[in-house]
């Protein structure tokens, strides 16, 4: 489905990705883990066309999409939820949501999908006329996630969905992602909450210094002691 080969790129003259490679099959969930600053978000930006790529390639369902622009990626059924807050501050919740489907030809379907995601995140319906900036951190995140689902994407890039979400909502989002995977959607996700994320994933990718350290079935990674120590909080208990 998605194949990243030897990616090399960065910001300005600083190279961040030093030959990242991996490939993920259709209808799977892959969790990317790695220390802060490893380049996880940078990989996402590279895939979505937001980064200077020096060399390497990205293929989506066999098509070369290296250096394609975000709009092209959306047209190919890819959506992206970046890290941090990403709403249009002065537009209402409803209009923010609507923007998620702005590129769709079939606006009637978007209308319907909006209703569906609002069923899933009832908070959004309650707040639909409020300005997005007025939402709490976690509410904004819900809005963003909902927005990325509108277009019935083939591939979702989702960068640390759990930041700011309450535990029950994290569970719910994970369930949603699993459900989507079962419907054939491919999901690439970054998560620091690695244990839970890997548990629901098919594959795990460990990234460090902009390079692929490991790429394997997620249960393999879960059981790998090195990974356990560094990224699964293995020693948290000992230190406390």
């Amino acid at each position: 489905m998605l194949e990243v080969k030897n990616l090399n790129g960065g910001y300005g003259r600083i190279t961040i990705l030093n030959g990242t490679s991996f490939s993920i099959p259709k209808a799977s969930i892959t969790t990317v883990i790695g220390p802060n600053g490893a380049g996880k978000s940078t990989v996402f930006k590279a895939i979505f066309g937001l980064l200077n790529i020096n060399s390497g390639s990205i293929h989506l369902e066999g098509e070369d999409v290296t250096r394609k622009r975000p709009a092209d990626m959306i047209a190919r059924g890819v959506t992206y939820v970046p890290q941090g807050r990403n709403v249009v501050p002065q537009l209402s919740v409803l209009h923010n949501l609507e923007l998620g489907g702005i590129t769709a030809k079939d606006q009637a379907r978007v209308k319907m999908r909006m209703e569906q995601v609002m069923d899933q995140f009832p908070m959004l319906r309650q707040r639909k006329d409020q300005k997005a900036i007025e939402l709490s951190g976690g509410q904004q995140k819900q809005l963003e996630i909902a927005r990325a689902l509108l277009l019935d994407p083939k591939l979702i890039l989702i960068d640390e969905p759990s930041i700011g979400l309450s535990p029950n909502l994290v569970q719910e989002v994970f369930q949603t992602l699993t459900r989507l995977r079962d419907q054939g959607v491919t999901i690439l996700m970054v998560e620091q909450n690695a244990k839970a994320a890997l548990a629901m994933s098919d594959y795990g990718l460990v990234l460090e210094l902009g390079q692929t350290r490991m790429f394997d079935k997620s249960d393999k990674l879960l059981n790998d002691p090195r990974v356990g120590q560094l990224f699964l909080g293995g020693h948290i208990e000992d230190a406390a």
Partner: protein, 292 residues
């Protein structure tokens, strides 16, 4: 009483022009968080396009206006956005402010160099009829200005809030990074903003030039007054510009007659300061919401 009505009417007529220029400020502010210091010159220039059409190409008035509109869209819209705003947008407001100050100078000097330094008569769009209403003289021109600017601003407001394109424009302005990842063609949305501004400037230019006469330096005072009107009305509300413009027009006339002609131009400024202190978001503006 007749005197008072005259003041109000003349004030509204002048104010509707300020409003048309002010709405451009508001629009560009919303689109790129920049203050276009050349806005006054944007209103000055199209009149000369019309004159060029009439004197150089010998066209009648309306075709010349159409020509001016086309040229404005091209120069004040497309070229301004492509050549100046776009490369600078990522670098914050200040360089853009400086660039627009220089652009204003460039436009002014170019008109002076290539068309002449003296004012030029400009044909009126509306018939020169004057009506007596309750003792006050009201010209067709006054009424026309008021109606045109209200229509223009009203429909712009509706367009921005009620259409998907309008909302995409807002999104591109408020958070271009997000707009981009959602697939909005940010560049095109910004272009629309500048095209609308150019169009409004042309309308304003054609409306005022019969009164102001076409002159290279017309933008100087007009720009400042429009700017004040935009702030007074509220920088984040399109219709704020209308209210601000009309208010300034009326206050200007009232103070010229009843207060002090010498300090006449001080009144809008005092109003500006008062608004900033008492209602910083402007008369119609809304506060921008939570900050943390």
């Amino acid at each position: 009483m007749a005197e008072f009505i005259q003041i109000i009417v003349s004030g509204l007529a002048a104010g509707s022009i300020y409003a048309l220029a002010a709405v451009g400020f508001t629009l560009l502010w919303q689109a790129s968080q920049t203050i276009n210091f050349a806005q006054g010159e944007f209103v000055m220039l199209p009149a000369f396009f019309v004159l060029v059409g009439m004197t150089v190409f010998g066209l009648p008035l309306w075709p010349s206006v159409a020509l001016a509109l086309a040229l404005s869209l091209l120069i004040l819209g497309v070229a301004f956005k492509r050549l100046i705003v776009e490369p600078m947008l990522p670098h914050g407001t200040l360089p853009l402010v400086i660039a627009t100050i220089s652009l204003g100078l460039l436009m002014k000097e170019s008109v002076k160099e290539f068309y002449g330094a003296t004012a030029q008569p400009f044909p009126a769009i509306f018939p020169q009829t004057v009506y007596e209403i309750a003792g006050a003289s009201v010209s067709m021109q006054d009424i026309g200005n008021l109606v045109v600017s209200m229509l223009a601003i009203g429909s712009l407001q509706l367009f921005l809030n009620r259409t998907r394109t309008g909302r995409c424009m807002q999104a591109s302005a408020q958070n271009p990074a997000v707009a981009e990842i959602l697939g909005v063609n940010v560049k095109r949305m910004v272009l629309y903003t500048f095209l609308i501004n150019a169009g409004l400037a042309t309308v304003a230019s054609v409306l005022i030039s019969p009164i102001y006469l076409a002159k290279f330096s017309n933008g100087e005072t007009l720009g400042l007054v429009a700017f004040i009107a935009a702030i007074v009305g509220g920088f984040n509300q399109i219709r704020g510009a209308l209210v601000g413009g009309l208010l300034i027009g009326v206050i200007d006339n009232l103070s010229a007659v009843y207060i002090s002609a010498q300090y006449r131009s001080a009144m809008p400024l005092l109003l500006l300061i008062a608004i900033i202190l008492l209602r910083p978001q402007g008369l119609l503006g809304t506060s921008e919401g939570r900050t943390v």
